[in-house]
């Protein structure tokens, strides 16, 4: 009986030690981003990794290559490899919900960065650029710069991403009030520079007389601008982007692009990493959705900004 009691006691102690070891294991953070084929997302991912390191956590960046199946694999790997939180930039607002829910069931907290998933509860928190409000401001500037009249083209981002539509809807909520402004073409170029150039070249064949181009991101704006240069129309057409990427900021300085909307990926990424740290320390009360302001940048205020943010 005595031997049995000692054995039970040892077992209990071992179990206790194992649990304590698990609790004391260093926490790991996975950073899953939609694509690393766009400098903006590279900056977002690297800033999140840097902040995680500063806070004392090991982290690893996973590239979903805009592919939900690959994103799903990354989530499974992250869960199986014992990551404790995922800083997540989704590929598909609806399609990514299942991945976030899977992580939640496994006790892994997910903090969305920039892009949202269509759920109030799956993610621990979603830190999102307020694209709609920014595009209202871009829309006002667009109307003013075209003097309320002319033909324009809209290049949309990935159609399954909510940011694509928040940007488009914000812009149209203003521009559609002016009957003198006519949208002659609206096409998706998947947030991709090369695709935008091809799409724009094709649109220019059918609609050579345009005065403005509104693009859902800077990469597409740069692609559209290249197509306009090739067609000899760059001087006449006002091109608008969105993001605040390095080449767009330089382009505004040089008088090529008319305006962009500056998102703050540093704020978003650092906040996501900080939230993960607070979560590990026991905090559970996070805002479900936190819109981060986005600011309009044009030649008038370009001196206040650098790529991906404001001058210090």
């Amino acid at each position: 009986m005595k031997r049995l009691s000692i054995a039970v006691l040892l077992l209990v102690l071992l179990a206790g030690c194992s649990a304590t070891d698990k609790q004391q294991e260093p926490k790991k953070i996975a950073i899953v981003v939609s694509t690393l084929n766009n400098p903006w997302f590279v900056f977002l991912a690297e800033t999140a990794a840097k902040k995680a390191k500063e806070l004392g956590y090991e982290s690893k960046i996973f590239d979903s290559q805009n592919n939900t199946a690959l994103e799903s694999d990354h989530f499974e790997n992250a869960i199986a490899s014992g990551y404790n939180a995922i800083l997540f930039n989704p590929t598909d607002a609806a399609g990514s919900v299942a991945n976030v829910s899977k992580a939640k069931e496994a006790g892994v907290a997910v903090f969305c960065m920039d892009r949202e998933v269509n759920s109030k509860d799956a993610a621990t928190s979603q830190i999102l650029s307020d694209s709609y409000s920014a595009c209202i401001e871009l829309g006002k500037l667009f109307v003013q710069s075209l003097d309320k009249k002319g033909n324009y083209v809209e290049l949309l981002g990935i159609v399954s991403d909510n940011n694509t539509w928040n940007r488009s809807k914000g812009f149209h909520s203003v521009v559609d009030n002016y009957p003198g402004l006519k949208m002659v073409a609206q096409q998706s170029a998947d947030f991709d520079r090369n695709k935008a150039m091809e799409v724009m070249e094709s649109i220019l064949q059918a609609h050579p007389d345009i005065n403005g181009v509104f693009c859902g991101n800077d990469a597409m704006a740069m692609g559209a601008y290249q197509a306009l240069v090739a067609a000899g129309k760059a001087e006449k057409v006002k091109v608008y982007g969105f993001d605040g990427a390095e080449d767009a900021v330089n382009s505004i300085k040089e008088g090529k692009l008319t305006a962009t909307a500056m998102q703050f990926p540093k704020t978003i990424a650092e906040l996501a990493a900080t939230y993960a740290d607070e979560f590990f320390k026991g905090k559970t009360d996070f805002p479900k959705k936190l819109p981060i302001p986005v600011e309009v940048v044009n030649t008038e205020n370009i001196d206040k900004y650098v790529a991906y943010g404001k001058k210090d």
């Binding site: 607002a93 759920s119 109030k120 307020d130 009030n177």
Partner: protein, 207 residues
């Protein structure tokens, strides 16, 4: 009973039960119906906001000349009572006031309001932006499954103002009328106070 009739009756009964037990529908139709039932009704939400929630909360609107004075003398304090879905520079306020119509054009009505150095511009054509949605501070992003839903609400509220608030006002208003108004204004806290306060109307009454 004749065996044939018996089997016929049994077969007919089984066929009747089977016919009423099994329904064949297109999977796409079922899914579409489910999606429709789940879809967020932004128009209904906007109507509830404008017709029910806002009239109850209009007592929280700040008097426009009082706000102007506070913005001039202690802007930090004034902006502390503003609203927006993000913590950026563009902020919204719900205001109320009474003024006399001094001018009407195709885009605005201009009101002389006691305590203000310049006329208030009451928008009657361009009802745009998030002022109508966010000025009151009633609506929170956490209520919505997607930010797209919340942004569609903004558009629906603006459409309702154009369709319901403005037509009865525009058909009667004339220069010299006294107007009671509740509305929203948008201000950028990094920029100088505009000469004329521009109001997106929410509730209008000609006295």
């Amino acid at each position: 009973m004749n065996k044939g009739i018996k089997y016929l009756l049994i077969t007919a009964s089984v066929a009747l039960v089977a016919y009423n037990s099994v329904y064949v529908k297109k999977l796409s139709d079922v899914k579409a119906k489910e999606e429709k039932a789940k879809a967020f009704d932004a128009l209904a939400y906007a109507k509830d906001y404008l017709h029910n929630k806002l009239p109850i909360r209009k007592v929280e609107a700040v008097e426009i000349s009082k706000l102007f004075s506070e913005l001039k003398n202690s802007p930090r304090k004034a902006f502390a009572n503003s609203h927006a879905q993000n913590n950026g520079d563009i902020r919204f306020f719900m205001i109320h006031g009474q003024g006399q119509v001094v001018k009407i054009d195709e885009s605005n009505a201009y009101l002389k309001v006691a305590g203000l150095p310049s006329d208030v511009i009451l928008a009657t054509e361009y009802i745009i932006g998030n002022a109508a949605r966010d000025g009151s501070g009633i609506i929170s992003v956490d209520e919505f499954t997607t930010t797209m839903d919340m942004n569609t609400v903004s558009e629906e509220i603006n459409k309702l103002i154009r369709a319901e608030v403005l037509p009865p006002f525009e058909s009667k208003v004339k220069v010299g009328d006294t107007v009671d108004f509740v509305g929203s204004i948008e201000l950028n806290q990094t920029k100088a106070l505009p000469k004329n306060m521009e109001v997106i109307p929410l509730i209008l009454e000609i006295k």
